[in-house]
């Protein structure tokens, strides 16, 4: 753990928006640009395929060339079919995913901010031991923890409820670690002292002053948790068996296994639904990432930047 601690405790949490290093002689390399565009094509290819495939009927998926549109595009019909299949269960999954992700992200960020502030700005008995204990937990893989959590939740009758997804996502050791580093720099002691002299209570100081100062770091933790809850598959897969509680990932996987029946199987129409559903589930996150670039670009990297 020591290395990881050292890696990041040296990290000044600032938002770098410096322009790229300009080489002394400003020249552009065309071969490099072409090579990188080729790499870019590889990363965008599956997404391009997804967009193309979403416009096709299941039959066209099998009979027309995968990387170009068919003669009868039917994106809207596919979207409609996706939302109406099985009494609109897809919309339900989308809603579930949003609820799980938003509640988890907000809760995790608030808990991490409060604890990070507590560890950064207060000294109390056992603070180092407690912090190191949490830090050690960063390395415990989520999936290795999932089955034990399931076993415990089964005992507590929490399995097959939304809590089974939200509760485990609330504890983010990495989030705490980021917030602690962040609070160290972003919350000046002088402000705290001034507020105390003015007679402000500790809770008021936290909610009115500290949270505002921590906002950029909070956005990072929110994004982190949002993505990991949105993308979570293993935990809901084992925790939930009621399709009405599924998040989008588990729902799509269940549709996909129905669609595998084969090219001409009874359920082969599901294929178009799986493809369109995938597109619909990817779109919000991709758009969010493009809109929030500034935050994740400084945030996601906080742990790895070296001073």
């Amino acid at each position: 753990m020591t290395t990881l601690t050292r890696v990041a405790s040296r990290t000044p949490v600032t938002h770098r928006r410096t322009p790229p290093h300009k080489s002394p002689v400003q020249r552009r390399s065309t071969p490099l640009t072409i090579a990188m565009l080729a790499a870019l094509a590889y990363f965008l290819l599956p997404l391009f395929w997804l967009v193309v495939a979403s416009t096709k009927s299941t039959q066209d998926l099998f009979t027309t060339f995968g990387l170009w549109f068919s003669r009868a595009p039917q994106l809207l019909a596919n979207i409609q079919a996706t939302f109406t299949h099985d009494d609109g269960v897809f919309a339900r999954w989308l809603l579930n995913t949003v609820v799980y992700a938003v509640v988890s992200a907000a809760g995790a960020a608030l808990l991490a901010a409060s604890a990070g502030y507590g560890f950064a700005k207060f000294r109390f008995r056992g603070d180092r031991a407690a912090f190191n204990l949490v830090l050690g937990a960063i390395m415990v893989p989520a999936t290795a923890l999932a089955i034990p959590t399931y076993l415990l939740f089964a005992k507590a009758d929490l399995v097959n409820t939304p809590w089974a997804i939200i509760l485990p996502s609330l504890v983010s050791p990495f989030g705490l670690y980021l917030m602690r580093i962040y609070a160290q720099d972003a919350v000046p002691d002088s402000i705290l002292e001034a507020a105390r002299i003015d007679g402000a209570g500790e809770a008021a100081i936290f909610f009115k002053i500290v949270l505002r100062l921590l906002a950029p770091g909070l956005v990072t933790v929110v994004l982190f948790t949002l993505v990991s809850t949105w993308n979570n598959y293993f935990l809901p897969l084992i925790m939930l068996n009621d399709p009405n509680l599924y998040p989008i990932t588990v729902g799509l996987a269940s549709w996909a296994s129905q669609a595998v029946g084969g090219g001409s199987g009874a359920n082969s129409d599901m294929l178009a639904l799986v493809v369109t559903g995938s597109l619909l589930s990817v779109a919000p996150l991709v758009v969010a990432f493009l809109l929030l670039q500034r935050y994740w670009q400084s945030g996601l990297t906080t742990g790895g930047v070296k001073q």
Binding site: M36, L111, G118, R123, V171, T249, A256, V282, G304
Partner: protein
């Protein structure tokens, strides 16, 4: 962090800030951490010491489940497979991420912003969707690669066959995470002080020399972090094989990766106690490998 020793005087107030409120800010997180992190681990550890037998019900068996697991060919095979996956996939992924980060940072290319965002986009795609997409792209009947090769009269690539499955999975994971690692490394490069480059250029170092002697050392902490995250990710590989299993049930069995095995033990064959032992061991393997990576990396560079 020059905190007082834990055996200090019992006064709650220390020299730094009012001590009273600190525990209150920390408490909610720590309570949940205790209940949702340590308690499941403890409960699983407890369960792993028992066995459910047809006759006699649940009995205490000590470490027997662990001894069984250590000799279980299915588990060992699964661990060996994810270890092989780690050895193949992670160097490729990190090398690509490194090359892309260096290319973006060099300032020599056009459209750098577009390329950076485009390569990162797969990170926002859930692994379930990534596996579904690649699964269809790999398909031998309707996948575009199969269509192209049959149109050209070439043999159809069997991405989902036994021989190709591990590289195919590695490709999916690489696709998902190169961008994330690239951003991590790129940010570390951005943080290198400009003076270092100027000094190196003054000493007559060329672009390659600067990359090797200035940029790579500066990237060490970020690379280390990426490496540790990759250890954790590789050894708990589950989502991608679980989804491709539906397309290639003959290739990916229920013990293809260690984590798939733990899952099928707990949920298909209902061997809860044994599953607890297996996931415990798997977690232990991951922690040990992570520390080993950190320690070797540290020993190599720090005197």
């Amino acid at each position: 962090m020059t905190a007082a020793s834990p055996k200090g005087p019992p006064r709650p107030r220390r020299r730094l800030r009012t001590g009273g409120a600190g525990p209150l800010f920390v408490a909610p997180f720590l309570v949940l951490f205790l209940v949702l992190f340590l308690a499941p681990l403890g409960y699983a550890a407890y369960l792993s010491l028992f066995q459910n037998r047809l006759i006699g019900g649940t009995t205490f068996v000590g470490l027997e489940n662990y001894l069984t697991a250590l000799q279980d060919p299915l588990l060992l095979e699964g661990v060996a497979r994810v270890a092989a996956f780690f050895v193949i996939q992670v160097p490729v992924m990190l090398l690509l991420a490194l090359l892309f980060a260096l290319a973006l940072d060099s300032g020599l290319m056009r459209l750098a912003r577009v390329v950076r965002l485009g390569i990162f986009v797969p990170y926002a795609v859930p692994s379930v969707v990534a596996s579904l997409m690649w699964g269809y792209l790999y398909g031998a009947d309707y996948g575009p690669f199969a269509q192209l090769s049959s149109a050209l009269g070439l043999p159809v690539p069997r991405f989902l066959s036994d021989d190709w499955m591990l590289p195919s999975l590695a490709n999916i994971v690489t696709w998902e995470f190169v961008g994330y690692n690239m951003i991590l490394l790129y940010a570390a490069l951005r943080a290198v002080p400009q003076e270092l480059y100027e000094a190196a250029a003054m000493d007559g170092a060329g672009a390659w020399r600067i990359a090797w002697s200035v940029k790579l050392p500066a990237l060490r902490p970020a690379l280390l972090l990426a490496l540790v995250f990759s250890v954790i990710g590789s050894f708990q590989l589950f989502n991608e094989p679980n989804l491709l299993q539906r397309l290639a049930p003959d290739v990916i069995d229920s013990a293809y990766t260690a984590n798939l095995y733990a899952y099928s033990l707990a949920f298909t064959s209902q061997q809860i106690n044994y599953a607890a032992a297996v996931s415990f061991l798997l977690g232990l393997v991951i922690v040990i490998v992570s520390y080993a990576v950190l320690l070797t990396a540290n020993r190599r560079r720090t005197p």
